[in-house]
């Protein structure tokens, strides 16, 4: 970074949040540099991979026609899995298969590289393979960045370094220290399969994709975990999200992934697919309690670094909020640069504008969702119960059948479910 002249704005991190911010700023004629530790940009990044929504439309009305997307999501499946049983709800929405589409499967190494390139074409300078140490702070004011011990001056900094934000840690800007309660560990593998096999197996036409999410029930020691499977053009993205707090001693995080992968239901879906790449990354649980200050004198925080990822237990939506927060931040920062006021007071407009978008709105409205989705009984008790009960209900045997209510009572008793507690737990559905 020797010859770097001063920039108006440094953006730290070229994930969807940082690259969107840099693209917007460059469009506004702001002198902006985007710095990422990956070389090429994207090579450190992982998501499940569905990009929901059209937050990128602000930057390019027809972005998806140019972006390296895998498939347009046309159907959604949500299921329950126990050791030897599976149950699946299956939705097909014809309108999802047409423009403007609702979501696309993506592979982040390719997608992020493209997004950064768009920022570059708009006029942003890109620095790859450079890890920033922290913010340069003097008297409570961010003056620029520190990289390899050297200081680089700017008028404002956008912090977009993702869930494991070393920038905020090293700069002392977290509200509270990171805790294992605040993150899931996402473990993912990409498995290759021929295009035609994917389309035949999942009932898809060319360009169409599907998204599966599962509750992994009945795991020992009340482990809380979920699984996903998304179809790409010539591969499947298979993964689990494990609540680190519930991972007991003696079980490896990757055992949960392998267990999921070897589940009979999943085994059929990934048959003959070849292991291509293994990855692991944090997913912020998201929510107000773990959110760092979103702005201060001379800086703003966007995307996962700001814990803006949204998850209601059935989907993880962090890519969209990352893009949207990057754009909202860039709007305020570009205005700030133009009028020459990057004070905390002015930059607070970013938090205000975020509140009027779905990003913060969702996190506020769903702030109790944790109570439901992290309730271990959903995973350890109710999921096995539902599957065992339905198995007995559906099984045809040449003997007299039990009445539904009697069978239900029997099964509740056998599963040791206290109906009052269950009613309270299930009333948690209102948080979803």
């Amino acid at each position: 970074m020797e010859d770097v002249s001063d920039y108006d704005v440094y953006v730290i991190g070229g994930g969807p949040a940082g690259s969107s911010a840099a693209w917007y700023l460059a469009d506004q004629g702001i002198n902006v540099a985007l710095i990422d530790r990956g070389k090429p940009i994207g090579s450190k990044n992982v998501s499940g991979g569905v990009l929901w929504g059209h937050d990128l439309k602000v930057l390019d009305e027809e972005w998806w026609k140019k972006a390296p997307i895998e498939r347009a999501i046309i159907s959604k499946k949500i299921g329950l899995l126990t050791e030897d049983k599976a149950m699946l709800f299956d939705w097909d929405f014809e309108e999802w298969g047409h423009e403007p589409y609702v979501g696309f499967s993506i592979l982040r190494a390719k997608f992020d590289r493209w997004l950064a390139k768009r920022a570059q074409e708009a006029g942003a300078d890109i620095y790859e393979g450079i890890a920033v140490d922290k913010l340069w702070i003097e008297k409570g004011e961010v003056k620029g960045i520190v990289q390899a011990g050297d200081k680089f001056k700017s008028k404002a900094v956008i912090v977009a370094d993702g869930a494991n934000s070393r920038i905020l840690i090293n700069s002392g800007l977290l509200t509270k220290p990171f805790s294992q309660n605040d993150f899931y560990l996402g473990i993912k593998e990409v498995l290759t399969l021929p295009e035609e096999t994917i389309e035949e197996r999942f009932g898809l036409n060319s360009e169409e994709g599907t998204a599966f999410e599962f509750i992994l029930g009945g795991l020992p020691k009340n482990i809380v975990a979920g699984g996903f499977l998304y179809t790409n053009k010539r591969s499947l993205s298979l993964g689990v999200v494990v609540d680190l707090d519930t991972l007991p001693l003696g079980i490896h995080s990757y055992d949960v992934f392998e267990y999921y992968k070897q589940h009979p239901k999943i085994k059929r879906l990934i048959k003959d697919a070849k292991e291509e790449e293994y990855a692991a990354h944090f997913v912020p649980k998201g929510g107000l309690h773990m959110m760092p200050p979103l702005f201060g004198n001379g800086y703003v925080v966007v995307g996962d670094a700001a814990a803006l990822c949204f998850s209601n237990g059935l989907v993880i939506n962090g890519n969209g909020p990352a893009i949207r927060s990057g754009i909202e931040a860039a709007k305020v920062v570009s205005e700030a640069i133009k009028i020459g006021d990057t004070s905390s007071k002015f930059l607070s407009k970013y938090a205000t504008s975020l509140k009027s978008t779905y990003v913060l709105e969702n996190l506020i409205r769903f702030k109790n969702v944790e109570k439901f989705k992290d309730n271990p009984r959903i995973y350890s008790t109710y999921t096995p119960f539902i599957l065992n009960f339905s198995e007995k209900l559906l099984r045809e045997e040449n003997k007299p059948r039990e009445h539904l209510v009697k069978l239900l009572k029997q099964e509740l008793k056998e599963a040791g479910i206290n109906s009052i507690k269950a009613a309270i737990d299930l009333s948690g559905v209102r948080y979803l």
Binding site: S43, K44, R108, E189, S235, H252, E275, E277, A280, H281
Partner: protein
């Protein structure tokens, strides 16, 4: 059925076998971006790093927790689960470390 008979306890596979599919750029100077303090690990009541790390960079060898950074995918988990203050964690220098081709 007892909990210990759960399939999760009987899986047979070695995570290290699939790490060969991943691409890493190794630091020729072998600078470790993560270090642990053996004297703290010795007295650690849980040693959760052994289980939480998704690439098994932490191993128990002759009763001692040993760390190797080579297969690290930079997820940050060990820093989170270590509440004993043993783990010093930083990003690798420059672009060293994991290089996802797909992500």
């Amino acid at each position: 059925m007892s909990e210990t008979q759960h399939k999760l306890f009987t899986l047979k596979f070695d995570i290290k076998n699939k790490l060969g599919n991943d691409t890493f750029e190794t630091d020729a100077e072998e600078r470790a971006h993560i270090t642990i303090k053996p004297e703290i690990c010795r007295d650690c009541p849980h040693k959760k790093c052994l289980y939480a790390c998704p690439t098994r960079c932490y191993n128990l060898i002759d009763g001692e927790v040993k760390f190797q950074y080579e297969d690290c995918v930079e997820c940050g988990t060990c820093f989170l689960v270590c509440d004993q203050g043993s783990v010093s964690w930083s990003n690798p220098q420059g672009s060293f470390g994991i290089k996802y081709q797909l992500g």
